[in-house]
Symmetry: C2
Subunit: 203 residues, 2 copies
Amino acid sequence: MHDKPAVTQQPIHDIIARRWSPRAYDVNRPVSRGQLVSLLEAARWAPSCYGDEPWRFIVWDRNHDAAAFQRAFDCLGEFNQRWVKNAPVLMLVLASEHFRKGAPNRWGMFDAGAAAENVYLQAVALGLAAHPMGGFDAEEVKRAFNVPDGYTPMAMIAVGHQADAAVLDGDLHDSEIALRQRRPLGENFFEGEWGRPVVPSGL
Amino acid sequence: MHDKPAVTQQPIHDIIARRWSPRAYDVNRPVSRGQLVSLLEAARWAPSCYGDEPWRFIVWDRNHDAAAFQRAFDCLGEFNQRWVKNAPVLMLVLASEHFRKGAPNRWGMFDAGAAAENVYLQAVALGLAAHPMGGFDAEEVKRAFNVPDGYTPMAMIAVGHQADAAVLDGDLHDSEIALRQRRPLGENFFEGEWGRPVVPSGL
């Protein structure tokens, strides 16, 4: 198993620092029912605009319903299928386009992202790993699983017990052991006004 | 100080369970520079589609630049101003509408939501609290802080040390001590296909 803790200028909480998106999973270690419900409960308690809870999740567990899992797997892009074949659980997170009272909700995707982050972090807390993917056919997933109009599929999420990078081949293996990187703090984080980099020390 | 841990059917990690959005802050306790950088580092290490890091943050600390803080405060709705007047720090989180290479990024808001969730959770880990708000004038904030086209303001976030609910009056006080609630798990979380509620136990 490969660890890649975040390199930061001030400490951050352990489950945030240790969260990353591995592709090496152990196909022989299921996610337990209790773990699955913990992941969803973490999402459930995310904050949302007006408390509208605009996220929806659909989960598939290959050890529970192999046929349904396969139908979800078939919606993934070819690159993702190469490694998701070893993940025991898939999830789809969707964002509601409207508040429950009917008006357009411009925070649906933002709030769904907060709920999804809780899933990734709760996975770390449970000794699991989670990997969100944009590479799937959103129209096909809506058709295959009867998603009504008004909900936008945002990400498929693979979940499982991490395995050694050796289970992956070629470019997948190389990316699994590559360093994690982020742009310098001051490039995306400003102080006072747009474009003025926040600096880590001093005021 | 009022605690409202999440009520769940399986345990979730402490910082996820204890995160909520209080409105009672201690105006006399600043957020330290180190704490501020920790909050931003937590956001910086969130996952994003193609690693594009589409989030941007602008921060204002009333104990560093009172005039800039006031200009950010002036962009809030009246209801929020009633309690944010005691918060020492404000942040704005924005989502890029395009990937850095130019194509539209349909995950910008989703990824910004993940980064923001890390801020709220890191606040809990530091003994602080954070409260995201949709109630602000997005056009005014863009004008006031020179935000270029192509970035959507998603939420203003108040951050500080929590205070006793007694610092709040009337309806603000009542909501501060009210129970936190979420819809039942099976209402937003499905298994196998849309609309089939996930159930907490059994397979």
